[in-house]
Symmetry: C2
Subunit: 543 residues, 2 copies
């Protein structure tokens, strides 16, 4: 026993659980009058945001919610969603954010599996929720959220009221001065996110207060957020808790600009009118911005940082974004890693790069977040690191404090994911000489043709280099002779034309023969609500 | 037992101890070629800085240093000091940085009390260290640091070699590829700093890896550090581990610019030649910059952030700093809080303030760091919060993860400091209506005259408003009638004159009669190496 092992223990003065709730408390203390939320005509200061979050927490507690119980929400990017991210954990409960594009059966599964006690549902989704509630075994208290700033130019309509009370009535039951519960341990669960699981039941990914608090610092550093950023909500908050940005912004007392639907005009208006400095989204959101009709575009003077993930930004899109005044930062992560945990940390010397060289550099996923402890590429069988040669494909592995606690009620899946003391991402990639990783494919998306591994991403990148291609998705097609062959689905830009033969020729000029698609199908490509291509849908079309 | 309490435990994949060593590892991985250290003619990249730190750790381990043992250093702001901040904890040891202005008896006490096993000493201080070693009971291995970039224009000389080997020879014994030891727990000690304790023996303040890692984020946010800051070392690194900036800079891959002696010319040269963006220091450093002869000043285009603490920046100094291109951020903290834990978080609306209003706003200590959990002002007897009225004086209290583990081998002092679950700072202050604290005095510096509390800071501020006053220090003088009365020591600016009567008149125009000094003494005011006025020396002169 050394001299530092005695009489130097934890106490309330020198140890407190890490929690993102503390970030909001500080922002409200220091910048009470600063605008925290903009939504349509609504403005909420940090004092109001904090008070309403506490009031919600108090109301939930008065409705019987105990620490460690689940409160589910099915909400758009609205003030209620931001309040839920704070108010639910403030009473010790766990927030389940349901993907608003899911069908009733999966929603019912999530409600049952998480033993949801209260569900708050936006009227836009009350139809599917009503159906889910008939399927579910649990009987949660149902609260309607009737957004007073529901846009007039709606691509969707408000559904019926299906709950016992409305959200504002629930909030009104609480005490805005409620002393929120510090988590008893920073390891306590703060939220639950189900993976979209293409086969079998979804898995419930559990986040803790420690990780969510650290993500506040990690996001601020990765996104280069100074004091008072203005953040536009193009990324759904139900997606990995909006990459933890609902909690992150309070670290720098930023302004949330809510957005129910991602449309070019609304985005440009927010950027020009509210001085947006940051937004996040899949590459599809970038395309929407660049390809917007001139009448919907607006001039703005600030540089806007666009954090993208899900797929490497294609070269043409990158160039278009620069011309339009956006800095693109490429991030990568999974639901299991609190959203982004890897950043394409951009180096000064790369500023001189142009065109394909710049895009190639930007396409790499990069290096660990400051708050992630380690990131590597390994052979999952031997758990040995692959050589940093940029060529040897292995599985991308994560380790650190922004890796999930595990899958809820699924110790087998958790054990499998954490095999050997690393989180197995299921993504295949290479480690470059300079320590940057680059994804080559999802494990299930790799195409094995004649014994050779073909990266579907590599083939897609070749297709994207054709000026007529809007979206490309390559999947494996079963083949008697080769085992599998690459099948390409292509969506063209409006008004552009190209034949399959021309595209084949284009690919042969850029790829080894065996990697070229054997077949090209022109079709509208199915995407998730977050803009990810749904390859499993395409894969069904191949058989 | 709730559903979130089962099968969601910690493992190597999802839990790693927080440590600032991880920040350096990342900077070396991502920016290996970026300059980490500038010292005279020397340049070290992050790859080199990381390798040398590991090499030092390896050498220490080979010399028998075990985890939890103390390695002491008595070093200036040199590369060796930066390496020690990383290399010592990398082998699990604890870094004791000895104040280079201490006398042999106190140094001997620190070596014995910390059971130091190895001491690394700069030749500038080998004389006093040699003496200390004859007084100390412990017999550590002594290593000389012979700085090859010891400036030619030295106000001090190199002393004799007193050790068994030189620092470079020690480092050469190690393996630069050494796999450094992750702390077994983030609560493990990383460093030891003795308070300067004016009475009795110094107390050894123990920091842990968790706090030092979090300070990386807290400092970056408080100081507004973007990517690649350039940090000038005017603050001694032996002072609260340089407010943790030796560890912090790696978070943003910044450049350390070393500086052995704080002189205007060297500072301006560094700012102009190396593009310094940040520096820290007591108000005396600001005066040195502003009052430098024209020949020593240099033009520079960047805005330089100057983080100051120890005393509120006087109005004239603030104005002078703005004119000279510096942004002053006012921080506050104690050795027990890892250096700064409070920041005068500056609001946009205050930018319009000028002169005394601006200085008054800047003089307040402010609000908690993002990584500090709570900060308040309480009546230490009742442990009740004082009203937020800007007037009721109480004791400033801290709570959170950047409060020390405690005092080494001093459970009584630790218990006293942590009484009631808060760290008692010993500083007296008020809570303003807007949640900002303002110091009124050290508990022992308050003057109680005729039953009325007089803040010595308030009297000093009045004196500082006189254009001839360079430094003012007010202490209590025992008085038969009043108990105590304020006695002012004043140091005038070079070439300026003012009489005691004129200053008395100046004070009476600004202060209540009972607060005015009863006596004014013109004298050179004794200061610590960090520019703090040594009131205990002045106090001895009053009796």
């Amino acid at each position: 026993m050394g001299i530092y092992d005695e009489h130097l223990d934890r106490n309330a003065a020198n140890y407190q659980p890490l929690t993102p709730l503390s970030h909001l408390a500080r922002a409200a203390l220091v910048f009470p009058d600063h605008t925290a939320i903009i939504h349509g005509s609504l403005r909420r200061s940090y004092a109001e945001f904090y008070a309403r979050s506490r009031q919600l927490a108090s109301a939930l507690e008065r409705r019987g919610i105990a620490p460690g119980e689940t409160v589910a929400v099915m909400l758009s990017n609205t003030p209620a969603m931001l309040e839920a991210h704070h108010g639910v954990p403030m009473c010790g409960a766990v927030l389940l954010s349901i993907n608003t594009r899911l069908d009733a059966a999966i929603i019912a599964f999530q409600l049952d599996h998480s033993e949801t006690k209260i569900v708050i549902v936006d009227r836009e989704f009350s139809g599917v929720m009503a159906e889910a509630l008939t399927l579910a075994s649990v009987k949660p208290l149902v609260v309607d959220y009737d957004d007073p700033d529901f846009p007039a130019d709606a691509p969707a309509r408000k559904g019926a009221l299906i709950g016992s009370l409305e959200y504002e009535a629930l909030v009104a039951e609480g005490d805005p001065a409620y002393e929120w519960r510090m988590p008893s341990d920073e390891w306590d669960a703060i939220s639950l996110n189900y993976t979209s699981g293409t086969t079998g039941n979804p898995k419930g990914v559990v986040y803790h207060h420690r990780g969510a608090a650290l993500m506040g610092y990690g996001n601020v550093i990765a996104a280069g957020m100074g004091k008072h950023p203005v953040y536009l909500w193009t990324l759904p908050m139900f997606h990995c808790n909006g990459w933890c940005f609902p909690w992150t912004l309070a670290v720098q007392a930023g302004t949330h600009v809510c957005l129910r639907w991602v449309r070019a005009k609304a985005m440009f208006d927010a950027i020009a009118d509210h001085g947006v400095t940051h937004l996040c989204g899949a590459p599809i959101v970038m395309s929407t911005l660049i390809n917007a009709p001139a009448a919907e575009k607006r001039d703005f003077t600030q540089t806007v940082t666009f954090n993208t993930a899900a797929a490497p930004p294609p070269q043409a899109v990158l160039a278009g974004m620069r011309d339009a005044g956006f800095e693109v930062t490429h991030l990568y992560g999974l639901t299991e890693t609190y959203g982004p945990a890897v950043v394409n940390e951009w180096k000064r010397e790369w500023e001189a790069l142009e065109g394909p060289e710049r895009a190639a550099q930007k396409a790499r996923q990069g290096v660990r977040y400051t708050v992630l402890e380690d990131l590597t590429v390994m052979n999952p069988d031997t758990m040995e690191k692959t050589p940093a040669d940029g060529e040897t494909i292995g599985e991308v592995m994560f380790r650190g404090n922004i890796v999930m606690r595990g899958y809820l009620k699924n110790p087998e899946a958790s054990a499998e994911a954490f095999r050997g003391g690393w989180f197995h991402s299921g993504d295949l990639g290479v480690m470059h000489e300079d320590g940057y990783i680059e994804l080559k494919d999802r494990a299930k998306d790799i195409i094995i043709s004649g014994g050779e591994n073909i990266s579907s991403i590599e083939v897609e990148n070749a297709l994207y280099q054709h000026p007529a291609v809007q979206t490309a998705a390559v999947v494996a097609k079963p083949d008697e002779k080769w085992g599998e062959t690459p099948l390409a689905f292509v969506e063209l830009k409006p008004g552009r034309e190209v034949t399959a033969d021309e595209l084949m020729e284009h690919c042969r000029a850029r790829l080894a023969r065996y990697k070229c698609p054997k077949e090209i199908v022109f079709a509208e490509i199915p995407k998730t609500s977050t803009g990810k291509v749904q390859k499993y849908v395409l894969r069904k079309m191949t058989t």
